[in-house]
Amino acid sequence: MKPVAFHPLARLLHWLMAVLILAMLFVGVSMVSDLSPRHTWLVSLHKAIGLALLLLVLVRIGVRLSLAPPPLPDDMPPVQRWAAKASHLLLYGLMLAMPVLGWGMQSAGGYPLPLQLPALLPHDLPLYALLRQAHGWLAYVLFATVLLHLGAALVHGLVRRDGVLRSMWPGPLPKN
């Protein structure tokens, strides 16, 4: 029988990362436009959450590959199926790319790394510029994708009422 919901571990990772990613996006855009002592604190927080998210996304990719997700509803149009697959692929790609870019750009900028992690790349100013800009622009893409994902989930749950939102429900699964 096909599963009707995501594995509890997948759901735990999803909601933990959802909260951290949303926090990360807000921390990121706030800190670059802030010069108060809050800036210092936000930068430390951004690095700490970034490292946590890197570890979590690696576990999550493993979980996604080893535990089959529930199938999409049979009556979903092909375009929506395609959009669902593409947006999830994009989300996974960005979840992995953002912390790696952060680590890489700090390396290329010649900055010391938290926990004395090794540099991923050599100290190189033009390379830093490229990675720093990619980190910023991809953050906007990630936020837009998160909005799309959230909107689609709510349409599934509140309008189509097809069980997709329930399959990722954070608590015990509600009855029909």
Partner: protein, 348 residues
Amino acid sequence: MSTPLHGRPRALRLAAIGLGLTALATGFAYAAGWIGAERLTPKRFIDTFETQAGHYPGYRKNHAKGLCVSGYFLSSGQAASLSTARVFNQSNVAVIGRFAIGGANPHSPDASVPTRSLALQLSTDDGQQWRTGMNTPPVLAVGTPEAFYQQVLAMSPDPATGKPDPARLQAFFAAHPESAAFRQWAKDYKASDSFASTSYNSINAFALIDASGKAHYVRWSLLPQTPFSALPAKVDDNDYLQHDLRQRLSQGPLRWTLQLTLAAAGDAVDDPSQPWPAQRPTVNAGTLVLDQVDAAERGACRDLNFDPLILPSGIRPSADPILAARSAAYSESFNRRSREAAQLGARP
């Protein structure tokens, strides 16, 4: 499983979802500073520097004119009881640094700018780094980024004379009585004829953390071991200080004493405009020796951000808001010049 909604209930729920997403996006735009009251941002500081001094792609956006040096720091061990930072007990610490003059114009004559700076990166054998940017004044005129921004505006060159408007400056200082110590320093300051015989000050306070976890607030200074000699009244060489430094280093290393001044209870540790009483105890933390100089705007210091909040364990920032603002603004300057280096190939 419930059935899909149609008609009016469907429209209402779709509208509610749209509203929710819009609210989240608006919050994001507010956090980013795209909407809402105008804020003082790192970008605005750097924009203002570029408006005043001109746009010089690839250069630092302040203290733009400088040169890279290197050497080592010989710790005296005397500060090891105040801080667990390795730099205070490792006998010989590798140093790279940068001498500069103040201002955002990389072509200013060396003798025309009263502010000089020395930025250092000390790399200890435990893999940690300490970066510090020090300046000639021991205090700033003001204690908040907002007031500092007003000072920058008050110092805007008058298009007619190319110099700040004295009336505007006077009005600024009158409105900021906390600038008294800085004005006294500026009045008494005698420029030396060399980077080598200049003192450099941390300005901001930091906390040294000892082995028991206790914080000792300090400001630090590099005191030259080269005797003072006054800057001549008339200097024709635009790069006078750079030529002097090269000349001196070709004859031998130059030395400074790293002196830590300890705050007493009640001293302003988060206000860089307030000096501490002269009788505060000091500690000689060691000797900085500089023995190598690179070609102008070349060398290891060029592509580094001397963010004063890059600190080893054992040194922590104070709550000084100017210190946080320096870190944020240096980062904006670094990002901007890195983009110029990448896009235009612009390097000093």
